[in-house]
Amino acid sequence: MKILQFPETEKKPCTKSMESLYCQLIDIADITDEITRLEFEWNGPDPRAGQFFMLRPERSSFFLGRPISVESWKSQESLRFYVLLRGRGSRELIMMHPGDYVDITGPLGNSWEDFIKPEFITNKPIALVGGGVGIAPLLAFNAQFPQNKFDIYAGFKMGFFEDEDRKNFFGITDSSSGIFNGKLIVSAEEEVGNGVLEGRITDFFQPEGYFAVCACGPEPMLRVVAAKCKKANVPCFISTERRMACGVGACLGCTIATTSGNKRCCADGPIFPAEDIL
């Protein structure tokens, strides 16, 4: 069933807000036991930090795509994602080989920018708190506004295979590019070392002094982060996750109960103010 168009070879600027394209896998690399990095060609619209795409391998035994947050991109060229091995759907994604095709639909959802306008940020830094692959949409935020001060807190179950992996994972954040001027705190529950602290990331995070906190990760972690922020009276924004079918706000399968009624995780979110949802 080939029902999507192959991307045209000739590049032209994309004027649509979202696109559904058939894209080739360029690069794939295992980062930890659970996390794999995938890079696809993409000449659709540029995403904004915090947005996601629906990904479905061309040769898939599955019916629906999987919603995955974008970690970084090169305009009119490529998209990069981190995928956590969670079930059979994510296994199909991480078992792909360069050259394989994937249906990609997006960019979808809202952005951190919808809540934290870069021009309004004071000289206080912003904390980005990620658990596991939850760090991906936060790294996108950091990379997009390198002039702002971000402190990154990243917690993992397992540390990294190689020091090089850790450096790659955090991209410009960890290089000596001089672009990143914040703190980078990485913790893991196992396989520590290589500059990785032992323990949960919430043990190393305090919201005091931050302009705002952006968080994404497992729900127990988010609850701790949100509670700390509430106590310290620091605004906290959370990127949420739900099972999705359409990804564009049509099926109402990913509804989240908020203080102002039902919202669609895919179209109204995935980012919400913490006090609206927890």
Binding site: L4, S20, G65, V248, A250, L252, N262
Partner: protein
């Protein structure tokens, strides 16, 4: 007799459903494209023959709690529970935008009692919707919904009340595959005033999460759709077409069938059109590939062109 089209003259893909002309027989199924505009950034929505709204009820409904979507082999289970803003809010906020999209607007009407259905029908009758699709087959609500679609007497009661309160709109009744005797329900609806029949709604089904050792859905059961059910739905359409023909008085044509169930490409739709359907609806496939609806349309057009078929009616092998 040769039906090969004359060069330069396009095949006629229009269909007439109870007096409403659709530019082609491909309709977006209820609950799968919202109110149409959700998919407008990705696909050319104006190319569709029609769009069914999300299931509408008299008062707004928040829908079901817990997990609402669960993928299954070649399909999915859903337990949305008719989340919608209510018919008045739909007419005020969504309908004007929907009418501008181009395709025929089909309002999917649901309810928990015959009175509620009738009141909703009265509101829709005064609105700009083109067709009412009476939903007596939603398996995901506790009261009403599918209960009216399982039994011929109950189906007749609701259809009759809605017919009386919406005399100006073509009425299409959406049937449940869970009915013990689908043909009996269908014939009861026709007798009570249905102008068309759409089938099928989802199959009542369930899933258990082996990690949590609990049913996945708060409602226990949910509705199964997608390619997994297509062969069963096709058989139901084939049989119902025959039953409708057999029950028809001589000279009077049977009501049209709008078929659906797992359609993902042109060939899938053609199967239903060959089985006697006048038009088709595409649902779950849109989730997997947003362009599925468009591909179904072009698939039918290509087939007609390649086989020299002039009209949609001529596709039928019945």
């Amino acid at each position: 007799v040769s039906k090969r089209p004359i060069n330069g003259i396009l095949n006629d893909t229009t269909v007439n459903i109870a007096g409403v002309i659709l530019k082609n027989p491909v309709i977006a199924a209820s609950g799968t494209v919202g109110y149409g505009s959700e998919y407008a950034p990705i696909i050319d929505v104006s190319r569709l023959g029609g769009i069914c709204t999300k299931g509408l009820t008299l008062k707004a409904k928040p829908g079901n709690s817990g997990i609402r979507i669960w993928e299954t082999p070649s399909g999915l289970l859903n337990s949305i529970g008719l989340e919608n803003p209510g018919i008045e809010a739909f007419i005020e906020n969504e309908l004007p935008r929907m009418k501008k999209l181009g395709p025929a607007v089909i309002a999917n009407l649901s309810g928990s009692s015959p009175e509620e259905y009738a009141k909703g029908a009265a509101l829709l009758d005064k609105s700009a919707v083109d067709i009412i699709e009476l939903n007596i087959s939603c398996p995901n609500v506790k009261a009403g919904g599918m209960a009216f679609g399982l039994d011929p007497a109950a189906a007749s009661l609701v259809t009759g009340q809605v017919r009386r309160r919406s005399p100006h709109k073509p009425l299409m009744v959406k049937l449940s595959p869970n009915a013990p005797d689908l043909a009996a329900v269908a014939l009861a609806c026709v007798k009570a005033g249905a102008d068309a029949l759409s089938l099928i709604n989802t199959f009542k089904a369930m899933a258990i999460d082996v990690k949590t050792r609990r049913p996945v859905f708060d409602n226990i059961s949910a509705g199964l759709s997608g390619p997994a059910i297509r062969p069963i739905a096709l058989r139901m359409v084939w049989e119902l077409y025959d039953a409708l023909q057999a029950s028809c008085d001589s000279g009077k044509p049977a009501v049209p069938i709008i078929a659906m169930g797992g359609i993902a490409c042109g060939d899938d739709a053609l199967e239903y059109l060959m089985a006697g359907a006048s038009a088709v609806q595409v649902g779950s496939a849109t989730f997997a590939h947003p362009s599925a609806l468009i591909n179904v349309i072009t698939g039918i057009e290509m087939y007609m062109w390649n086989h020299g078929i002039r009209t949609i009616k001529d596709i039928s092998i019945k």
